[in-house]
Symmetry: D2
Subunit: 299 residues, 4 copies
C-alpha cells in the first residue's frame, strides 16, 4: 500500500525506512528539503508541500504524522484538512496529549488514529510498540503499515476509542519513569553500600534469568559498560517530564494513587533545582527549636 | 564433577535436575525421605543423612544448601562442619541475610559461598541468575555447577567478598518490589481510567518493542490472560516482605534514599491492615476543625 | 462601617456575628429566608434579594460573599455586577480556585478581593486567619471588617495581587493534609507498637511544651478524649481533597516536589477505594515468578 | 526535695535552674569543673565526682542524667550503680533508644525512669514536655521535679513500662521531621510559585487562627523575620536523623506504613549527598532508549 509520511526527523525517518523495507510505497514530506532528499535517496517519493503530498496519494489517503507534539500537529492538520474526506486516514504517531487527540479526531475530516509509539531510536531495527486509538476500520485498514512499523503483528494493538492510544502511551511513560527510578535506587544502594561492586557485572547477571530482567536493565548494563561502574562524568540532572506530569494529573482526576510515579517525577524536578527551599527551612528550624548550628552557603 | 545437594524442595530439586542434565553427579539429601527418593528417581545418588551425604562425596566436597533461610541453615551447618576442611566448598543458595552469610563464612571450616538465586520456579527451564560472594578460588571451582544451574556462564557472577552475593540479591528483591508496584500503578490507572481496555492486549503490545518491556511485564500479560482484565477474584493482599525490609534497613544505615522501594513495602503492609489508624484520625480531625461529618464503621 | 453579607451558612453566619459584635452594621442575604431571619434576630438588617441588599448599602458598597466555591460565586456575581462600580468592593471569602479569582477580579466592575479563610467553625470565638489578595486600597478599606472577622489585626494579611489570597489558602490546605497525615502516622505507630498507651495522655503531654505542639494536635487530644485511644467506631474513610489536589497540580506546573502533600492526598484516595488494583496485581505476580499462593477474595 | 543532676550542658543546666527556681535543692556534677562552678553560682551544691554527688544525696537518692545518649549513659551508670539500691531513682532525660533504656532498667540497682524530653533550649522559660516510662511509684516520687522541669503538671505524663518514655519521644521526633518537611513543601511552593510573597507575613497570618498554626510555624515566622523571605544564605543541608531513623526502623518491625516520616528522613539524606546516583543513571538511560543528550558534569 501507499503511505504519506509528514515529519522526517529521527522517528519519522525510521517509519519511512521500515515501511519501505516491508515493500510499501512512501510519499515523504518535511519542512526541511534536506530531510526530504534523504528520504528520497532511501526510496521514498519526495513531496515539496503538504498539498503536493496529498496530490501524490490519490484517493483513500493514508497519512502518518511524525511531527513534534503540540502546535506542529495542529498546523499540519490545518494544511491537510481541506484535502481530506471520510475515506482517508490520518495517524498521529507522536506524544500528543490524549485530550488533544480526542479534540483533533472530532475536528478532522478524515478518520483519525492516535498512535502511541514506544521503543525509541532502537526501534529502527527491532520495530516499535504501537498503541492505537480511533475507529476500528481505520486501524484495520492501516494494519499492514502497523505490522511494518511495529515489531510485527504482536507489537501493535487497537486500544479503543479516540485518545486511547495516546492515553495508554501516557501511562506507559509514567511507568517508565518509575522503573528507571527503581533501578536507580537499587544501583545507588549498591554503589554507596558495603561492597565494591562491578555494576556492569551485576546488571549482566541480573539480565540473565533474574526476576527483574528487562530492556531497561539491559540499557543499565550498557551504561555501566560504556561509562564505568561510577558512571564517570554523567551528571545528576534529569531532563524531560511532560508525559509523567500528564500521568500524575490524570491520576489526580481519577483519584488513583500513583506514589511511585509521582516520586519519580519529583526526583526529576529535584535534580533540576540548585537548592531546595524545604530543606533550607528544615535546616533553619533545627536552630529554631534546638539551637543546632545552621549550615550557611559560604561555609 | 560431583555435587552434594541438601534441601530438595522446589528450588533444590531444580538445582539437582539442572546439574544432572549438565552431566554432573549429584548426591542428594533432604529431611523428607520422599523427596530423596524422588531425586533418586531423577538420577541422583540418595543419602539418608548429612553424614552419609558427606561420606559419599569423598575429598574436596562441593555442597549446595537449598534450605529455608534462617535457623535451618545454621542447623545444617552444625551437622556438616565436623566433616569439612579448607579444601571443601559450601554454597548457600537461599535467601539468607548477608550479615548472616558473613558470620557463617567466618565460622565455617570450608570455603563458604553465599549465592543469591533469582528466577523462581521458572528457572527450571531457563536457568537462574546467580549472584555469588566469597573466595574467588571457590567460585572458580564451582563454575561448572553454576553454569548448569544458571542460564549459562552469563547468568552467574562473582560479586565480591563474603556476603556480597546475598547483598546483591537483597537489593534485587527491593527493586523487584518497586517494579511490581510501578506496573501496578500503571495498570490501576488504566483499569480505573477513561477507557475500557483489554489489559492483556495492552501488556502484549508493550512487551513487543516498548521501553518498559520486561519479564515481569510478561507475567502481567499472563496474569491478565488467565484472570481477565479485572483480575477476577484476586485479592488485594500482598504477602511477603522480608528481603524488602532488609533493603530499606540497609539503605537507612547507608543513608541512601530509596523512596520507591520503601513505598512498595509500605503498600504491602497497608494491604494487610484491616484499617489504617492514620486515616481514621484524619477522618476525625476533619470534624475537629471543620465539623465535617465523621464516617463511622456501622454507617 | 456597613457590610453586606451574601451567604449565611455556618461560616457566613460567623462573619455576620463577629462583624456585628465589633459594632459594625450588616445587611444580610441568603437564598434561605430562614437563614436571613436568623441573621436578623442576631442584629443584621435583612435583605430579600441581592438587589435589595445592594439598595440598602447605598454608595461605596462593601460586600462579603460566603457562598460555596464554584458556580454559586459566578451566579451571585452575575446578579451583583449590574449594581456595582469601581468604588465598591466585593470579597470572596470561600475556597475558590485562585485562577477563578483572577478571572473574576478582571471581570468584576467593583474592586475584588479574594480572601482565603481558615479556622473552621472554631473561628466563631477565636476569629479566623484571613489571607487576602487584590487591590491594596480595597484591602485597606475593608481592614475594620477584617479586624473583626479575623483573630485581630495579626490574623489577616494582604498577600499580593488578585488570586494571591486563595493561592496562599490553597497551599495552606495542602500543608494541612500533610500535617494531619504526619500526626496520623505517629499515632498509628504508637497504637500498633510495643506499648499499651493512653493516646489522649500522649497528646496532652506533647501539647504542653513539645516541639510538635499545635492546634491540630489539640484536636487530636480532643479526638482521643471523645472517642478513646482506639478511636472507637471512627472509620478509615477520609473525604475531601479538592484543595489538596489543586496544590499538587500547581506544584506540578511549578515543578516543585511536594511528596508529603502528594502522599497525604493519595492516602485519602486509597481510603476511598474498596480494593487497590496495584496490590491485586502484585499479589498475582508473586505467583507468576515464585508460585506463592494467590490470596483470593472468597478465602 | 533534693535532686542530683549529672550532665550540665545546655539542657542539663536548664533542668538545674528550673528545679532550683521551684524551691528544690540540687547537687550538680559534670566532667567540666567550669560547668559545675557555673551551676554552683546559680545555687546548686557542687560535687566533684559521681561518688561525691552520691554522698551528698544521702538515702533515697533521686538522680537526673542529662548526658549524651549512648556510651556516656552507660559509663555514668557504671560509676553510679555501686552506690544505688532499690529505693533510689535514676532518670535518663536524654534521647536514648528505648531498647537501651529497657536494658538499663533491668540492669540498674535503682528504679529507672526513661524520660523523653522535648522543647529544646526554649524550654528554659516555658518548661519541657516530659514523656516518662518506668515504675509508677518512681514516677510519682519524682513528680515535684517533673512539675518543675516540665511546663507544669500537664507537661509530663507516665506513658507506661520501661522504655515507653523514650519510645514515645522517638515517635515524637519522627512526626517532627514530617511536620518540618510539610511546612517546607508549602513554603517552597509559595517561594517558587506565582506570587511574590512576604513569607513572614504569610506565617504570621497563619499563626493567628489558621488550622495549621503551631509552634513550628511560629519558628518559621521567626526564621523568615530573621533571614528574609528568601532565607538568605541558609544552606539546603539538613543534619541529624538518628531518632527519625529509629522511628522508621520500628515502623518496619511493626509493619506500619509511615511514608511521610520516611520521606522526610530521605530528604535529609538527599540534602547531604553531592550527587544522586539514581538520577545520574536516569539521565544516562534517557540516552539509552531515546538518544536524549546526556548532561555531563563539566557542561
Amino acid at each position: 500500500m501507499q503511505l504519506g509520511v509528514i515529519g522526517l526527523g529521527r522517528m519519522g525517518r525510521i517509519v519511512v525506512d521500515r515501511v519501505l523495507d516491508a515493500g510499501h510505497e512512501v510519499v515523504a514530506f518535511d519542512l526541511s528539503a534536506e530531510a526530504v532528499a534523504a528520504a528520497a535517496d532511501a526510496g521514498a517519493e519526495p513531496a515539496d508541500s503538504v498539498a503536493d503530498l496529498v496530490d501524490r496519494l490519490g484517493d483513500d489517503k493514508r497519512i502518518w504524522l511524525m511531527v513534534p507534539a503540540g502546535d506542529a500537529v495542529d498546523a499540519t492538520l490545518d494544511d491537510l484538512d481541506p484535502h481530506l474526506d471520510g475515506d482517508d486516514v490520518v495517524v498521529d504517531g507522536g506524544n500528543s496529549h490524549f485530550e488533544e487527540s480526542v479534540r483533533r479526531a472530532e475536528a478532522c475530516s478524515a478518520a483519525y488514529l492516535d498512535c502511541g509509539t514506544s521503543g525509541g531510536p532502537a526501534g529502527a531495527e527491532l520495530g516499535f510498540s504501537l498503541m492505537v486509538g480511533g475507529p476500528q476500520w481505520a486501524y484495520d485498514e492501516l494494519s499492514p503499515v502497523f505490522d511494518a512499523v511495529a515489531t510485527g503483528p504482536a507489537g501493535h494493538g487497537h486500544m479503543g476509542d479516540s485518545g486511547s492510544g495516546h492515553y495508554v502511551k501516557m501511562v506507559h511513560n509514567g511507568v517508565e519513569y518509575a522503573l528507571m527510578q527503581a533501578y536507580g535506587e537499587g544501583f545507588e544502594l549498591l554503589a554507596e553500600g558495603r561492597y565494591d561492586l562491578d555494576l556492569e557485572s551485576v546488571a549482566q547477571t541480573w539480565n540473565n534469568g533474574a526476576v527483574i530482567r528487562s530492556w531497561l536493565l539491559e540499557l543499565c548494563e550498557e551504561a555501566f559498560r560504556e561509562e564505568g561502574s561510577d558512571l564517570g562524568d554523567v551528571d545528576d540532572h534529569v531532563a524531560g517530564g511532560s508525559t509523567g506530569t500528564w500521568t500524575v494529573q490524570e491520576a489526580l482526576e481519577q483519584e488513583v494513587p500513583v506514589p511511585l510515579i509521582y516520586q519519580s517525577l519529583a526526583e526529576r524536578f529535584g535534580s533540576r533545582a540548585d537548592d531546595r527551599f524545604s530543606r533550607r527551612l528544615a535546616n533553619r528550624l533545627r536552630y529554631g527549636f534546638g539551637r543546632h548550628e545552621v549550615a550557611r552557603k559560604d561555609d
